[in-house]
Symmetry: C2
Subunit: 142 residues, 2 copies
DNA sequence: GTAAAATAGTTACCTGAGTAACTAATTGGG
DNA sequence: CCCAATTAGTTACTCAGGTAACTATTTTAC
């Protein structure tokens, strides 16, 4: 039973997807981790940094770094909430303006990545993977 | 069509799997990337570094680093081939001796990671993922 | 037979993510 | 009310992977 093959396939897929998304974003000076944040902020509006972490299932330190880079590029800003510990993150005008172009590039890349995969298969896969991830997250908390 | 959700699930799975394998290997002072190399060398015997790269679908520089760490721990050694550019990598006695213990730990971890996943589903998933990866690798070469 | 192209590995530097240890602010218990 | 515990975020350091540029060999082509 070659379980390691399954794991290896998943790692490779993850790397391959990131690589191709990064290639897509390169003309805009963005990277995949930044795009994930921009995407969530566009969907959800203003969010605290820890909410972003939870949403994207990432620890706090990588999020700090990603946001600092986005701030440097003036795509994101924060405002202090009533709770002075919290940084509420939101998109800048500059990001809102550029967003549609980014989105179109990413959407068309996604399409290419899934070309030749019938919706039916995609949904089966997504369902299986999501349920597996769910049980895994349980395992690690024991 | 939430394709980003599928991608996000795969990234998370990849990270979660690595995390749990690293936890399993920690008592032995090993990391997942090192284990992958040790496993292949055990299966295949002596291999050149570039063959290892190809087999594990990893670029040369990470492989150099992983092997250098394994050499430092005296789990691996290289001998120069007829072609002086090539380094043939092989396990040391020390690694051969310790291997069964490592293997058992990893196998039992793998079982835990797949607990609750019927073989049938696992195979469907593996098949879908592998065929997707295959087409993806084609896309990036265009 | 030698100069150019290809190949194996390394070095330097980058993204992405993790843990541990820290600071600053807030909440709760006595 | 005030001190302890918790929470939000940062800093420092690590692993895993990637690209670009390099060295040292080996092939290939002329």
């Amino acid at each position: 039973m070659a379980t390691h093959e399954l794991f290896h396939t998943i790692h490779q897929l993850s790397r391959e997807l990131t690589k191709l998304i990064n290639q897509t974003l390169q003309p805009f000076g963005l990277y995949s981790a930044q795009w994930a944040v921009l995407f969530v902020l566009k969907e959800e509006g203003s969010m605290s940094q820890s909410d972003l972490c939870e949403y994207l299932a990432v620890e706090a330190p990588p999020m700090t770094r990603t946001i600092q880079r986005l701030i440097k590029q003036d795509y994101v800003r924060y405002t202090q909430g009533a709770d002075k510990r919290v940084k509420m993150i939101h998109l800048t005008e500059k990001a809102e303006t550029a967003y549609p172009e980014w989105e179109q590039a990413v959407l068309s890349a996604n399409e290419k990545l899934l070309a030749g995969m019938p919706d039916e298969k995609r949904i089966v896969m997504q369902t299986l993977l999501a349920s597996w991830l769910g049980t895994l997250k349980g395992v690690s908390h024991e």
